[in-house]
Structure formats: C-alpha cells, structure tokens
C-alpha cells in the first residue's frame, strides 16, 4: 500500500478563510428582481377582481429583492463554507457518508420521472410503478423479508411506521391492551425511544454486557407478556455484531413479541447475513446511508420498511404492485393507512434502484466486505493511542475513546473533532453511543481508498501525539482556526434565541 496522500481531505479553500457572508436579506434592494414568466395571452385580471377584499393581502411578502447574479454568488459563497462528501472523507459514525454516484444524479433529473404527477392515473405511471416494485423486491431479498412499504421518508419515519405495524399485529391478535412495552438497548439511536413514545408504547431499556452485546440475563428478566417487541440495531451502534441474536430472537418470540431491526447499520452485512434470517420481523432501511443516495445537508432520505409475511397485510398503502394489466396501486387489506402524502420520496428511491443495479448482488457483498475491512484496519491503526471501547473485531464502524487522553492531558473527544477539522477532515460522530465515555464513532465506509484511510488515521494519531508531547491539550482546544468560523458558542444560541433574521437585535 502506498503512503497516505493528501487526498481525502479539504484544507483551506474552498473552506474560505474567515470572511463574513451577510444574509441574503442584507443584499436586498427595493425594486430589484430576478423573476420572469411565460407569455400566456390570458386576460390581465387584477387582484381585486380575483380575490375578495376580506382575504386579500394589501402588500407583498417581504422576500429578498436581489439580482440573479447576486443570488448565485451569495449561495455559491455559502457552499464555500461547507464541508461535504465530495470534498473529502466524512467518517461520521452511524451516518454512512459514502460516495454518492453521479450516475444517480443524472437519473434523478430525467423528466420522464421528475415531471410525473403523483395523482396521474396508473396508465401514465407504469415506469415509476415498475421501478418501485423492482426496488421493493430487491430490498426484500437483501433483508430476507416478504414485502415492503416505500412510503416512509426517512429512517425515523420508518421506525414509527414499523412500530405501528407491530401495534396493528398485536391488535389483530387481541393483545394490544396488555402489550405496552418495547425494549431498547441503552446503546440505541435516540430516534428509537422517541419513536416508541410516538407509537404509544413505553420504553423499557436493557443494558449492555461486558462484551458490548445485549445483556441477555437482563433481557430475559424484562420479557413478560406485556412486551410488544424489541428494537435492535445489528451490528449495534458500537459497531459490534450481536453474538446472541439467535437466543434473543428465540426469547422474544417465545413471549409473543416481535423483533424490529433498525437498518442504520445495514452497510455492514449486505449479502453476508440477513435480518430475516436472524429472526427479525420488521426492518427499516436508510437508503441514504446504505444505498448511497446523497444526504442533502440533512435530507431528503428514504426509510422503507420491510416485513415478514404475517405482517404484510398491515402495510401502509396504497402500494405499487404487479397487477393483471400492468402495475397498479393497491391497498393492503388491513392497512394502517398512509404514512406519506404520496408514494414516498420517489426520486430518492430511484437513486437507490440505480445503485443496486450498478452494484448487483456480488457488488453489494463487496461493499460490505470493504466497509468492514476499512473499519477494522482503522481501529487497529489507532490501537495503543486511543482506547478501544469493546475490544472485539468490529463491523462497518468502530467506537474508540479519548478517555485516557482526556484523563492524562485533557484532550476531549470534542477537541479531537475540532483539531481534525484543521487537518482537513470532517470529524467522526462524538459522544455517541452514550454508554462510552469520550466516544469517537468512526465509520470510514468502503468508498474511502486505503490512502485516504491511512491519512485519516494519521490525523487521529497526530492529534493525540501533539497533546501528549505538549503535556496538555491547549493547542487542540484552540481549534479549529482554519475554518470559516472558530468554535461556535452553542449555549449562547439557545440562551439568546435568534432563529430568523427578523429577531436579530443589531
């Protein structure tokens, strides 16, 4: 393997030096405008002829008044103040920030898909329906499930949908009154407990054993006939495969509960092992993680939910299906209803379909193999410098800790994160999972080359070495000094709340 290259990191420009970018409202100049419209030859009825006075606004909404040129340069300058996957490594744990293929960008712009009205009759949407049915079938094969809904717009929406399916199943069995609790490990993503509450269940938390797995004894103690099911992430947020999954599934099924699989970490196991074969009944996937659809600065994603056969009749609808005269939209017989205005984040799903076609089944398996190879290599490279939370082979991500560094020289996980920015990398996820002190959760993904991976590891090692050599973390605590702004005062943001330009006091 060649030595690490500067590749994979973004130093200096385009993260422009510490200049200030005014808001677009400050560019505004009365009378300036950019918009233009089609020539329609329609009668030029005026507002007072079209809208009764009681409803009519006398003025206009105070939107920015800018030229197209100033508009473009403002937003382009904003992009220069933004790190992204296209710039460099983005090892944010649990987020699977892999490279987003440009082929999917092109596909997502085809008017043959983007200009289709969601309420058009099925005769006008056969291409869309076929694509969505093919995607659903592929997701079922990957997860070992029977049927899926593509409606949920993100992972959390998928969680809530899955829990409502769990609830509908117990209700159909006449057991909804007594099954009130859903078990969640203390290492779970925060969306899990929040979704449980929204689905009307109570959270029961199960602890983690010394090897980082679910504490089986504690779980058995919680399992009673008031339990609706369990939500698990496997591999867990510690990046570890749940060794006792067979026993867990058995125990939960024995008391009539269902197993919910949080698909946030599915990138570790494509073609290796399937949630359905582990005993899971409900699975959500995050296509923006596993299937490389871009994260959009915080969305859109898509969170399809796949289920075993006994839950299929409860799925949300209407759903795309194969009919006698082509593809159609049908409502499952005991559907819980709609969970999206239309058919889900269709264009995101189209990107996922393309990704699956570009990789094929073998390619997906290679994706997981290399994701796991990268995470293990990275963890071993950091051994001896950072603490390893649970010292076992990991899957697609690893959780290391700055606990010793913090104790010895005051270098916290946050300091590591901020100093990494100066070295040109996006930081990993920090302080999660909550059960690991000074946690640094690193998910390199399979799309980072060995050279980038080595450069990232070197940066981690450099941050630790600098503090050890200085005997303190003063330098790291002053970081970042090369980014558009220095350390941000988030406490002040909450204390002196300014969430619109109109609230600004100056």
């Amino acid at each position: 393997m060649r030595a690490p290259l500067p590749a994979g990191r973004a130093l200096g420009a385009p993260l422009l030096a510490r200049d200030f970018e005014p808001t677009i409202f400050e560019f505004s100049e009365p009378g300036r405008h950019a918009a233009s419209f089609r020539t329609t030859d329609l009668p030029a009825w005026q507002a007072d002829e079209l809208v009764p006075e009681a409803f009519r606004q006398s003025g206009a909404v105070a939107l920015p008044q800018v030229s197209e040129r100033d508009l473009v340069s403002h937003f382009t300058r904003l992009t220069h103040r933004q790190y992204s996957v296209d710039l460099g490594a983005y090892p944010l744990g649990s987020c699977t920030m892999k490279y987003n293929p440009k082929a999917a960008d092109a596909g997502a712009c085809l008017p043959g898909f983007t200009a289709v009205h969601p309420a058009a009759p099925a005769s006008c949407t056969q291409g869309w329906l076929e694509l969505l049915v093919e995607l659903e079938e592929a997701l079922c094969e990957i997860t070992g499930m029977h049927a899926a809904t593509l409606q949920p717009a993100a992972g959390a929406a998928g969680e809530l949908t899955g829990l409502l399916l769990m609830s509908a199943y117990h209700e159909a069995n006449g057991e909804s009154a007594r099954r009130r609790r859903v078990i969640i490990p203390d290492s779970a993503h925060g969306t899990n407990p929040a979704s449980v509450t929204l689905s009307g269940y109570e959270v029961a938390t199960v602890g983690t054993n010394a090897r980082g797995g679910v504490d089986l004894g504690a779980l058995r103690a919680l399992l009673d006939d008031d339990v609706a099911g369990i939500m698990l992430t496997n591999p867990s947020t510690l990046g570890l495969f749940e060794e006792d999954i067979v026993a867990i599934a058995q125990a939960v099924h024995d008391i009539g509960g269902l197993l919910y699989y949080d698909g946030a970490n599915l990138n570790a196991i494509l073609g290796i092992v399937r949630p359905g074969d582990m005993g899971f009944d409900i699975v959500h996937l995050n296509v923006h993680k596993t299937f490389a659809t871009p994260h959009g600065g915080g969305g859109p994603g898509a969170g399809p939910v796949a289920v075993c056969s006994k839950l299929a009749r409860f799925l949300p609808g209407p759903r795309p299906t194969r009919g006698h005269n082509g593809f159609e939209l049908t409502m499952p017989e005991s559907s819980i209803g709609r969970v999206h205005s239309w058919h889900g984040n269709a264009v995101v799903l189209l990107r996922a379909w393309m990704y699956l076609r570009l990789n094929g089944g073998d390619g997906l398996k290679r994706v997981s193999e290399i994701a796991v190879l990268n995470a293990n290599w990275f963890k071993e490279r950091l051994r001896g410098t950072y603490d390893i939370a649970y010292d076992r082979p990991v899957m697609h991500e690893c959780v290391v800790s700055a606990q010793s560094l913090h104790h010895d020289v005051g270098l916290s996980a946050l300091d590591v994160a901020k100093r990494l920015m100066e070295l040109g990398f996006h930081p990993p996820t920090v302080y999660f999972p909550l059960i690991v002190e000074e946690a640094l959760m690193v998910e390199p993904t399979e799309t980072e080359s060995p050279q980038t991976l080595a450069a990232l590891a070197d940066a981690f090692l450099q941050v630790a070495r600098e503090s050890r050599e200085a005997g303190n973390a003063d330098d790291a605590k002053a970081a970042p000094r090369t980014t558009p702004v220095g350390r941000v005062d988030d406490a002040r943001a909450a204390r002196k709340l300014v969430v619109t330009f109109d609230q600004r006091a100056d």
Partner: protein
C-alpha cells in the same frame, strides 16, 4: 468480484488483511454465527455498467407520461406544475449542499446552516408567524407534527379537523393517531367551505385544523376558525398554500398558532410525489415544542457571526423517549431549494405567480363551466384550484383526455365518500398555462364529456 465505487486493489486488500492477521475477507465476519450466514449470492439482477443502467432507466421513463408539451397539466391536489427557473437547479445541485449531512459540526457547516437560517426567515414571513423549523418530510408530516405540538401544549388529545384538509393528510393524521392517541373529529363542508356552525361540542379540544385554501380550492374564513378555536380552548392549525400566500393575508395575521404547508411549488418538480418539503411555522411561545431541526444565530469564540443547530435539548438524540418528535433526517435540500426559488421570485415575483395562477384558474373555470353538463361544485371564492361535476366519471374523463394530451385533474374520491363532493374533478391551472393550452383543453374536455 468487484464493486464500482470501491477503490481497493487486490494487492491492497491482501495487505490490509495481513495487517489484521486475516487470510481472507470472510475472516472479517467470524463473529457472525455460521448458521445465520447467507451462503449463496443475493438473488438480484447482475451488476450493470453505468450506460447500461442509464439505458434501462430511460426505458422505464418511456413508460411514464410526464407532464409537459405532450401532457399539459391541469392536475393539482397538493402537487403543482410550476415553473422551475434554471438558477434554482444550478444552485441547489451544488455538491456542497447535496453531499453534506446534518450540520452537527457547525465550524465546517456554515453554508448549510446559514441557508437554513435564511429559509426559516422566509417561511416565518410567508406564514405570518414568528419562527419556522428547518423542514419536515412533506405537508402531511408537518400537519401530524403540528397536531402533536398543539395537543401536548393544550394537554387535550381531541382534535377538530375540517374535511377541507387534504384527504391524504387526514389519512396520515389518522394513521399516526393510532400511536399518539389523538382523537380526530371531522367537521363537514357546506358549499365548499367548513361548516364550523355544525360543531356543537364545546370541547375542550387541543387543536382546530383548517386548510386555507382547502382541498376543493375554496378560501376559508380563518376568523371563524379562530373564534371556534378560542371557544373550545384549542390552538389553531392552518394548512396554507405558500403560493396563494402571494395574494392572501397571512394565516398568522388572521390568528393561526401553527402554520403548515407543502413547499413543493418552490423549485421542486412533481417527482411522482417526493421528495417534497414540509413547511412548519409557529409562535415564539411554542418554539421549545417545535419538531425537527432549527438553526439559530450566535457567535464564535472570537465574536464572529455564526450559525448553529439550536434548542437541541428538545431533540431525540438528547432527550430520547421524552423528545418533542422523532425527526432526525428531514428535507434540508428541498428547503435550500425553496430559499433559492423564493429569493429569485422576490415579493413581486411571488405575488405575480399567485396572480397568474388565479387568472389561469379563473379562465379555465369559466371555460369548463360553460360546457353543457359540467357544473361547478362550490360557490365559495377560489384562487388556484376548483372542483367540477362532470357527466361521466372523472376517472374515465381523465383517461380520455390523456389521449388528447391533457392531464385533466384529480378525481375527488378518498376522504369524501358519501358526500356531495364524491365523484367530482379537481382542476388546477398554474402560471405556466397559456390561453392556447386552456382553450385546447376546454375543447377536448367538451368532446370527451359529450
């Protein structure tokens, strides 16, 4: 075996495995019980090259009938065929916006954060309320969250919801009420607008929900909804149309406590229904109950202007089962898109879009209602959409007009079963529609219903 977006050479893989003391890649998975392992290949189509996939996708696209010159769009019902200026795509497809994630690390995320801050300001101004969040999945999701906010704030789970609210949104509200325990009482329509006078129950209720304009296109009397909300002790949730907002008084100025809407008209294509944009605004007093992300202004360590996600203590990753919502990933890219589009429009441009929609809609309405056998279904004032009853079933009519190159509208069915509106046709005309297109549509319509 290879994967198209993996860079590792065989030699590099061997070297990395050597560093780990492993013989082969399978050795990485030793912790997985052998009995669970998938010892066959995934039964999926073989990997295809980029041009082959593009070709296959194009083939599927050819089986769709997209809106455009060959299928002139008169369908709306919450998804509108608006103009998308080139500048919107050019800016919103910048890969710094597209390939970043949630701005957890503000020092390297000022671009997305500031764009969201500007978006929040625009949505607050559009709605006439104090604050807006960083976006939700779609209009329906925003409605569900608004109702959750209202019932939690009021401590009262019962909800009065107008039947004029989009039927899909109502259906979704029902779905999620299975979990939240909210009880939704529907208020019927009369003459196309909500018959608030038929509400005899004095409450208390947590929320009163109304759409203005409503699903049938009619403008609603928000003052009446406000006084009912006051009478039953509820917060008033208004589903607004952000395009009509260019001409109408803001819901906030008419007493709305929470305003939600579908932001698709601002720069997002019809896209078979997604990804769209859930708009959400509320009063400052409710800001600590707001769902999802919100960006605030602050300073950095040296006093420079900076932006950061704020009020994080509400959120699922901090508060877990006591969070105000479970929202994590939202629709940020669509929010940035909307901010660019709204900046391009400006105050006069937005007003012009609304005005042009209203003109095209009036012209279409007059043309269709003069066809023998076609009757207007509502008498209340409308702006950008209207419902008609046709002599033949709307589904049949729509299929016939597709042959002539027009998407005639959306049938009124789901959510209106057993009402006078069932079997109607909902028609919308946006600023894109010309006199020639509408004249052609009306002529084809007349032939089709004859």
């Amino acid at each position: 075996m290879s994967a198209p977006f993996v860079a590792h050479t065989d030699a590099e893989i061997a070297e990395m495995l050597g560093f780990l003391g492993l013989d082969d890649l399978d050795g990485l998975f030793g912790e997985i019980p052998e009995a669970l392992r998938l010892r066959r290949g995934l039964d999926l189509p073989m990997a295809m090259s980029e041009p082959d996939v593009a070709w296959r996708l194009d083939e599927l696209a050819s089986r769709n009938r997209p809106c455009g010159r060959d299928l002139v769009c008169f369908a709306g019902a919450g998804a509108y065929d608006h103009e998308i200026p080139a500048v919107v795509k050019a800016v919103a497809s910048r890969s710094e916006f597209v390939t970043a994630y949630t701005p957890y690390q503000p020092e390297v995320s000022q671009g997305v954060l500031q764009a969201i801050f500007e978006y929040q300001t625009m949505i607050a101004r559009l709605s006439g309320l104090d604050v807006a969040n960083a976006s939700l999945y779609d209009g329906a999701a925003s409605l569900v969250e608004a109702v959750n906010l209202a019932v939690v704030a009021a401590g009262e789970r019962r909800v009065l919801c107008s039947k004029g609210v989009h039927p899909h949104w109502r259906r979704q509200l029902e779905t999620f009420s299975r979990g939240s325990g909210n009880e939704i009482d529907l208020v019927p329509l009369s003459g196309g607008v909500t018959a608030w006078e038929e509400v005899a129950d004095v409450g208390p209720f947590g929320a009163v929900v109304v759409a203005a304009p409503n699903y049938l296109g009619c403008l609603e009397d928000l003052a009446a909804a406000r006084s009912l909300a006051d009478r039953v002790g509820a917060r008033l949730v208004v589903c607004f149309d952000p395009v009509s907002a260019g001409l109408l008084r803001t819901p906030g100025s008419l007493g709305a406590d929470v305003v939600v809407g579908e932001g698709q008209p601002f720069g997002t294509a019809l896209s078979f229904g997604g990804p769209y944009l859930g708009l959400f605004a509320c009063r400052l007093a409710d800001v600590r109950r707001i769902p999802g992300r919100i960006v605030g202004e602050t300073v950095d360590i040296e006093g420079r202007h900076a932006y950061v996600m704020t009020l994080r203590a509400r959120e699922q990753d901090i508060r877990r089962e006591r969070a105000s919502s479970n929202v994590c990933t939202n629709q940020t890219l669509m929010a940035v898109t909307a901010a660019v589009h709204l900046s391009w429009l400006g105050p006069q441009g937005l007003r012009e879009v609304a005005l042009r929609c209203a003109r095209a809609t009036r012209y279409t309405r007059e043309a269709l209602s003069s066809i023998a056998g076609v009757k207007l279904m509502t008498t209340a004032p409308i702006l950008r959409e209207f419902a008609v009853r046709t002599p033949i079933a709307p589904e049949t009519l729509i299929e016939r007009l597709v042959e002539d190159g027009y998407l005639a509208g959306v049938p009124v069915r789901e959510g209106f079963e057993g009402t006078e509106y069932e079997g109607g046709l909902l028609v919308a005309a946006t600023e894109k529609r010309t006199r020639a297109e509408i004249d052609g549509f009306a002529a084809a319509f007349e032939k089709a219903v004859r």
